[in-house]
């Protein structure tokens, strides 16, 4: 027992020394991670990252050749990205599937949607300049945005909620306006389709919430009045008919059927022009 006690002190010292070295190195690593402005792939602690280059050709309808194509640009949030579609086609894929093979072949779908994006994030993405080439070459632009603006709201106190909703709405309006202006200035002829918000909660929603949803869509439409060559799709009405069929298993995003419906409506709108 005494022998153990005698060991205790040197043991503590050594352990402390070892841990100190470990912690200092860990700390240094954090500094390098947060401080480095190098591209991750070229830093010395890379983990042998492989950039996967699999492309699912059937899904996209994108051919390998680099002839000038008609670009369909999709921007916005997860619905733009096609989340929830069991066959991963999304709006773009399904729209192409409504055309003939030859026609579909002349299109390329470019998707800069970011799941979870808010209107302001979409605007930042647009204005970053990374997509200017696609914008200039686009024939159609589909915009799905606004659903995420209403997340992350603080507090549920009714009076505060009303104020905050108003704030979010006016932010959305401004950002949407700026985004559309940017698009229009970059490309005078592109046709723009803006998707309205639908109600994923169906009959279980509070009246207040539904009213606000309509307000949101209404204000969005008002913004569109300022522009030419622009269409609004009232998804609220489209989905209300058969919510169960059009929602995916997560009860939030559209299902494959839902995306198919959206694509059909878009085709109607574009063809009519």
């Amino acid at each position: 027992m005494n022998g153990l006690k005698k060991m205790a002190w040197p043991f503590m010292l050594i352990t402390t020394l070892v841990m100190t070295i470990l912690f200092i190195s860990g700390f240094a690593r954090v500094i390098s991670i947060t401080g480095s402005s190098e591209i991750a792939g070229t830093s010395t602690n890379g983990q042998g990252v492989e950039i996967s280059s699999q492309v699912d050709k059937e899904v996209e309808g994108v051919s390998g050749n680099e002839d000038a194509k008609n670009v369909i640009l999709i921007i916005g949030d997860s619905i733009g990205a096609g989340v929830g579609d069991e066959r991963n086609l999304g709006i773009g894929g399904r729209l192409l599937s409504l055309m003939t093979f030859e026609e579909a072949d002349t299109y390329e779908v470019v998707n800069m949607s970011v799941p979870g994006a808010t209107t302001s994030e979409m605007k930042a993405n647009l204005l970053s300049g990374n997509f200017d080439k696609a914008i200039k070459e686009a024939k159609y632009v589909f915009v799905s945005i606004g659903g995420n603006n209403l997340n992350r709201m603080r507090g549920t106190e009714v009076s505060l909620k009303v104020i905050e909703l108003e704030e979010r709405l006016s932010e959305h309006i401004n950002d949407l306006e700026d985004s559309l202006t940017y698009l229009r200035e970059a490309n005078e002829e592109v046709e723009i389709v803006v998707l309205g918000l639908y109600n994923p909660y169906g009959d279980s929603s509070e009246t207040e919430d539904v009213r606000f949803l309509h307000e949101w869509n209404y204000q969005t439409r008002l913004v569109l009045l300022e522009f030419d060559q622009i269409h609004f799709i009232a998804l609220y009405d489209v989905f209300k008919v058969n919510l169960n069929l059009f929602l995916s298993i997560d009860d939030f995003h559209p299902s494959g059927e839902g995306y198919q419906k959206i694509a059909e409506y878009i085709k109607e709108v574009l063809v009519s022009l």
Binding site: F23, V30, N45, N88, E121, K133, A134, D250, D251
Partner: protein
């Protein structure tokens, strides 16, 4: 220095280590149980929603991979964005290959979460228990007289206390991580050290900055997090040490530092309005946030900034301690 050994012995002999041990075990146990409970509820909920179709995370994961791969082929995404996407794909592939639902808790994940949460209040509390009476305790039991009437200069005595505190804090952090891992393994059954973690995200107004994103294993990630916790605790230890020297009363010391910690949490809310708040040490304690990008960081604050602020506070505290201790008349 054998003086240091004396000081460490004094700390061990008091009831403090037991208290710390008990606190750790209790909190970690509760926390782990809570995690397990909420995880099981999430699974239940998801399964309920899908009704006939049983919830299959794997499909969802594959879907996400396809989606990301598609985005990567576009010419319009930046290099950095591509790399970040590639990493996320790698991560998801790992989960699929090893048949692990990404949201399944593991010991490693839990220990990490514990460090992230604990760094703000629980771990500093443990440090305060160690540090608060390190000097003031000697005054209240008057054993300081015996200590200072030796042929040893005062600064050496204070230094030995400081080093002893350093040792104890390091060991406590080690102990915390070990307890966290082993208790949670008991609940979750998996260590999960090899799981990939992607870190290096940061938020700035407008969105996620992915230029520094890299992939590490859970084990590495744990090391990173606990290193940060270690650093923060050392700083808190230094400040408490100074308070102990200045105030000479253990209860007052504890009161002061706890007020600072808790008050600081409230000050966080004023962060965007009041410039000075960002120089307070408490608002800079959430270092793991710089790795995970969980919430927005105020203009002008960065990892480097926070580390500097904390370091200055610590160094200043130690300096003041030495100056005051050297001059003080011992009247007990």
């Amino acid at each position: 220095m054998p003086l240091v050994k004396n000081e460490v012995m004094k700390m061990l002999v008091s009831r403090k280590p037991y208290l710390i041990l008990v606190l750790l075990v209790v909190f970690i146990g509760l926390f782990a149980y809570g995690e397990q409970y909420s995880y099981e509820r999430s699974i239940e909920r998801l399964e309920n929603i899908s009704e006939a179709i049983s919830f299959n995370w794997e499909n969802l994961a594959r879907q996400q991979i396809k989606d990301m791969e598609r985005r990567m082929t576009s010419q319009y995404i930046s290099e950095e964005g591509k790399v970040s996407l590639a990493l996320e794909i790698e991560q998801l592939k790992y989960f699929i290959e090893n048949d692990i639902n990404p949201i399944t808790p593991s010991a490693a994940k839990f220990a990490g979460r514990f460090a992230e949460q604990g760094i703000l209040l629980l771990l500093p509390l443990l440090v305060i228990i160690l540090a608060a009476d390190i000097v003031s305790g000697e005054f209240s039991t008057r054993s300081i007289k015996v200590l200072l009437t030796r042929a040893v200069p005062r600064w050496k005595i204070l230094l030995s206390k400081l080093i002893a505190l350093f040792i104890m804090i390091t060991l406590v952090i080690l102990l915390s991580s070990v307890i966290a891992i082993f208790i949670s393994v008991f609940f979750f059954g998996r260590f999960g050290f090899d799981e990939p973690v992607i870190t290096g995200f940061s938020m700035f107004s407008g969105g996620l900055n992915v230029s520094n994103v890299i992939e590490v294993s859970q084990l590495e990630y744990l090391l990173l997090l606990y290193s940060l916790a270690w650093f923060v605790c050392l700083v808190i230890g230094g400040i408490t040490f100074m308070i102990s020297v200045l105030v000479r009363s253990t209860s007052a010391s504890i009161g002061i530092i706890m007020t600072a910690l808790i008050g600081g949490q409230f000050l966080q809310f004023l962060l965007s309005d009041w410039e000075l708040v960002k120089y307070f040490f408490v608002t800079n304690m959430n270092l793991p946030n710089y790795l995970s990008g969980d919430f927005q960081v105020v203009e002008g604050m960065s990892f480097g900034f926070s580390v500097s602020v904390l370091s200055v506070w610590a160094l200043l505290s130690v300096f003041i301690s030495f100056v005051v201790f050297q001059k003080k008349d011992v009247l007990v």
